[in-house]
């Protein structure tokens, strides 16, 4: 079947196409060059006046894994406000803060997204994360495996094992957990919490191991680079949410010594201590550091006002933040000498000084970082806001008067503490396409995704141009996933199953000797039963695995 998209205005930063009229041809799920000679088109779409981008990619969204399911279970009252009926082609479920798996897939697709990446795949919980993501229709998915508070790594560091031993362990874990990246959350802090430490600064030692967060970041960032994993070490830094943590973040950037590093939900790590309330924006300093350190990428973790739930591996910080729980109920867990999690419902309020300034700090960061290839559009779903708020966020970035109108309604003291009103920048469509498509695909290392040139998979989103960017981005005219038309006028019209993206870096098989001994002595599962096989993802006939190339 040959599909032709005629005359759309194409934004394809991967090929340097910025708003040019082009036809696109789709065959067997991929974009192809215009066929030579005579050919018969099976289906034409007239896209004159429409905006064409590749399918959007959310590079950091909590869509699979135990903490999300705890969040769901914790909040039946939230689901009751947003029931989702079944239809002849779609399953029922629930929406709002932490939607059910099927609804997650439908609603992402209905906004023009075709892939989402779970950033906190606990090795021991990776099975669950993949099973949940296996029940998310339409989207491609993948995960970053979480290391850094696992006792095995900390033992390696205490035993002064060399970088090769670390690399082998990291690569082995990526294989067993079926991951495309490596994440570290509050490096060593989740572990320190188990020893009753309640905070852990960048250079503070774990009470048992004597290892610091700086040590952990160094060896993991090195491992990721040396293994050729395209996605840089994905870092949720120390001191999340703590006023003054801007210094920690700046020290983290300096400390990594030029190694590639992705700082996630940077908004939560950009707080100063100035002003009457001892809480201020560090966005300008952070943006300057990002602008001048080309090895650094960030996603923002924008907060937006309203009810949500925060679900994080950082149980140390989540425990400290539980006093802000709204409604007042929360969960933390220590998990399997591997990691932890904390789930705290939050209601961000525009008349709360701190929340209002958090909102402004996120936007300042977006607008002050110059290079859209190194900053990514996230709310850290659901932690800053549910992913369904992305069209609103895009309008905030693209529409200065809209942004300033909202700014003028937030807590007055917060207005005084932000430079937002003085920032003229408005994101362009091309910059949005970079942040949410080409840049994200490049950052994750996805081959043949995030672009519209021949050879790419035909993940394509088509919008009607509208000066109200929120309206434009919340209701695409068409979405194609692997060449299949899945959304028309913002509604799912057919469903399919996406693939699971992974990388498989090499490791020395002898790494299992030490691991087997450790598992037998200390863990609760046999090593052989721990490893996730490809079968587990593909045996139900819906899933598939796509292995991406390593960097050379």
């Amino acid at each position: 079947m040959l599909i032709r998209l005629i005359g759309g205005t194409v934004y394809d930063p991967a090929s340097g196409i910025d708003g040019q009229q082009q036809d696109i041809y789709i065959q067997n799920g991929r974009i192809i060059d215009k066929p030579q000679g005579e050919f018969k088109v099976d289906q034409d779409y007239d896209l004159k006046g429409k905006v064409v981008m590749s399918g959007a990619i959310d590079m950091h969204t909590h869509i699979g894994g135990g903490k999300g399911n705890i969040a769901r279970t914790l909040l039946p009252e939230d689901h009751r406000h947003d029931p989702v009926h079944r239809s002849d082609i779609t399953r029922s479920g629930c929406g709002h803060a932490m939607p059910s798996t099927f609804v997650t897939g439908y609603r992402y697709a209905e906004m023009g997204y075709t892939a989402g990446f779970e950033p906190a795949l606990l090795p021991i919980n990776a099975r669950q994360a993949h099973m949940e993501m296996g029940d998310i229709p339409i989207l491609d998915k993948g995960g970053y495996v979480m290391l850094g508070s696992d006792d095995y790594l900390l033992r390696l560091l205490t035993a002064k094992k060399d970088q090769k031993a670390i690399n082998d362990y990291v690569a082995w874990t990526m294989h067993t957990a079926k991951a495309i990246g490596v994440k570290v959350v509050n490096p060593g802090g989740i572990n320190a919490f188990k020893f009753n430490q309640r905070k852990l600064d960048l250079d503070e030692q774990n009470a048992h191991y004597g290892v610091t967060p700086r040590d952990i970041l160094q060896v993991l960032a090195t491992a990721v680079k040396e293994l050729g994993v395209p996605h840089p070490l994905h870092v949720h830094g120390c001191n999340l949410g703590v006023p003054g943590n801007v210094q920690t973040t700046l020290d983290t950037i300096q400390g990594i010594g030029g190694l590639p590093m992705h700082l996630t939900h940077i908004q939560f790590h950009s707080y100063g201590t100035e002003g009457d309330f001892k809480f201020s924006s560090g966005a300008a300093q952070i943006a300057e550091a990002i602008n001048s350190n080309k090895n650094i990428t960030v996603d923002v973790g924008q907060i937006l006002f309203g009810q949500t739930v925060t679900a994080s591996g950082d149980n140390m910080r989540q425990h400290a933040n539980h006093k802000f729980a709204s409604p007042n109920k929360w969960v933390t867990m220590d998990i399997e000498c591997d990691a932890g999690c904390g789930v705290v419902p939050f209601k961000y309020k525009d008349q709360n000084f701190v929340n209002a300034l958090q909102w402004a700090i996120g936007l300042e960061t977006f607008l002050l970082v110059n290079d859209p290839w190194r900053i990514f559009l996230t709310t850290d779903h659901p932690n800053g806001a549910p992913f369904t708020s992305y069209p609103h966020l895009i309008r905030l970035l693209m529409d200065r008067s809209f942004r300033n109108d909202i700014l003028s309604t937030i807590h007055p003291e917060a207005q005084k503490m932000t430079t937002l009103a003085s920032i003229d920048r408005e994101y362009t469509l091309q910059e949005i396409a970079i942040m949410t498509r080409a840049g994200a695909a490049k950052l994750i290392g996805l081959k043949d995704r995030g672009g519209l040139s021949a050879g790419n998979f035909a993940d394509i989103t088509i919008y009607t141009d509208n000066t109200d960017r929120q309206k434009m981005f919340e209701k695409p005219d068409y979405v194609f996933k692997d060449g299949q038309l899945v959304v028309v006028d913002g509604k799912v019209v057919s469903t399919k199953w996406g693939t699971t993206h992974v990388v498989k870096p090499d490791f020395d098989p002898s790494v299992e000797k030490g691991l087997k001994d450790y598992f037998d002595r200390y863990l609760t599962m046999k090593l052989g039963n721990y490893k996730i096989s490809d079968d587990e993802i593909i045996e139900d006939g819906r899933g598939s695995i796509t292995v991406h190339p390593l960097s050379s």
């Binding site: 279970t73 059910s100 188990k194 220590d334 399997e336 789930v343 139900d540």
Partner: protein, 419 residues
């Protein structure tokens, strides 16, 4: 004959995965690391191979069509049991969504004690490997732990080595409420558990006093329900002195009205202890008959744990009104589907409604269901996934023999297709 090692069990809830099982044709024998729960569950013989409709043996496709026909015009079918693996639950929920059914896990009335506490105030919990390596004080509330999981102590408390406990036999065990039925809680060095016995239904009072003592509230009584306040004060002091204490209970063992308040009292007490400069965690026991699996899969598919309904066309949760027994007793249900792939002794309640049983081979009915489809057991007849008690860990179940029995998922998906 073959011997299969490192076999994981979906039966005991604590994720034992070191069984060695001898397979001879269709018969299984646990030859290493069995226990009173796992061994009989694995060794149960296959009797039925063929489905039955109205008591007559039929081919699988006939049984599927008959089941679909029975469900076709129902208004409120109830799917009870819900004892199967992850894929089985996926099929079950798809069928329930399609038919507007109630989904109710058979252990939910017990589990509800946990869910109500969780959904009202939350908790701080831990998992088995943390217990194995960190726990220095285990307090067991109202539960005969070794009857629940015979190998719990051997695997997670009296383990020879622990990363952060120098001498595991020095671990302190305290029972509050029910006394243990055996001596598994006695340490290898002979140290016995401390037992502060009371009637199970007296636990709300006892636990309330314990929490008050943890918080430093004055108690004027000298004893509560047969336990001296000074003994409870000792426990409170031990919590504060411990580095990583663990409080465990089986929600189903707290079999008295409003037991969720006891779970809440315990969970809030654990939070209090964590505010007194040390660590303490809860460890709810569960994982039997696929209960954690049902709640997890139902959780991500619908947002709610496994006592909910699809009758409005979307998921609705009510932990009381969607009780299978209630819906059968008050005449609201008009068909019963019983799904139980783990335990042939767990048969459906006897009702006059159209009844479909998708069950483990070997079920004996006092009243033959309209349709009975014997299915394979996850972890014996087919691969699969099951959740352990601690909710984080899904274990990968092995296929041990080739019985030809279909999986729950295959059967339920086929019924949905036939609709």
């Amino acid at each position: 004959m073959i011997e299969i090692t490192e076999v994981p069990s979906p039966f005991c809830g604590i994720g034992t995965d070191d069984l060695t099982i001898r397979v001879e044709g269709l018969s299984l024998k646990v030859i290493e690391n069995g226990c009173a729960v796992n061994t009989p569950a694995f060794e149960q013989a296959i009797t039925d191979i063929r489905p039955r409709v109205n008591g007559q043996e039929v081919d699988l496709d006939v049984a599927i069509k008959s089941a679909a026909a029975l469900l076709k015009d129902t208004h409120l079918p109830v799917i009870g049991g819900c004892a199967t693996d992850v894929n089985g639950m996926r099929g079950l929920l798809a069928l329930a969504d399609r038919t507007g059914a109630v989904v109710d896990n058979m252990n939910f009335t017990g589990a509800r004690n946990n869910f109500l506490a969780l959904q009202d105030s939350g908790w701080m919990n831990t998992t088995l490997a943390e217990v194995k390596n960190r726990c220095d004080l285990l307090v067991v509330i109202g539960t005969d732990l070794e009857a629940f999981a015979p190998r719990f102590y051997e695997r997670y408390i009296w383990n020879k080595e622990a990363m952060f406990v120098e001498d595991t036999s020095s671990r302190e065990i305290i029972y509050l409420g029910k006394a243990p039925s055996g001596s598994a809680s006695t340490s290898p060095s002979g140290k016995q558990a401390q037992i502060l016995a009371c009637e199970t239904q007296d636990l709300p009072e006892v636990v309330a006093v314990l929490r008050a003592l943890v918080k430093g509230q004055p108690i004027t009584a000298k004893a509560v329900c047969g336990i001296t306040v000074s003994d409870l004060q000792d426990i409170a002091d031990k919590f504060k002195a411990a580095k990583y204490s663990v409080v465990t209970w089986a929600a189903g063992a707290l079999a008295y009205p409003q037991a969720e308040l006891t779970v809440q009292q315990l969970s809030e007490m654990i939070k209090d202890i964590n505010n007194q400069n040390t660590r303490c965690s809860g460890l709810p026991l569960a994982g039997k008959e696929g209960d954690q699996t049902a709640n997890q899969v139902c959780g991500w598919t619908t947002g709610y744990p496994a006592r909910m309904r699809f009758s409005a066309g979307y998921p609705e949760y009510d932990p009381f009104l969607n009780d299978t027994n209630l819906l059968l007793a008050n005449g609201e249900a008009d068909a019963l589907v019983w799904v139980q792939a783990f335990n042939s002794k767990s048969v459906p309640p006897e009702v006059s409604l159209p009844t479909i049983v998708v069950g483990r081979s070997g079920m004996v009915f006092t009243k033959e269901p309209d349709v009975f489809i014997p299915v394979g057991t996850p972890g014996i007849d087919h691969v699969g996934h099951a959740y352990r008690m601690d909710n984080v860990v899904a274990i990968r179940l092995k296929k041990l023999r080739d019985s030809g029995l279909p999986s729950t998922a295959e059967v339920l998906n086929a019924i949905e297709q036939a609709l």
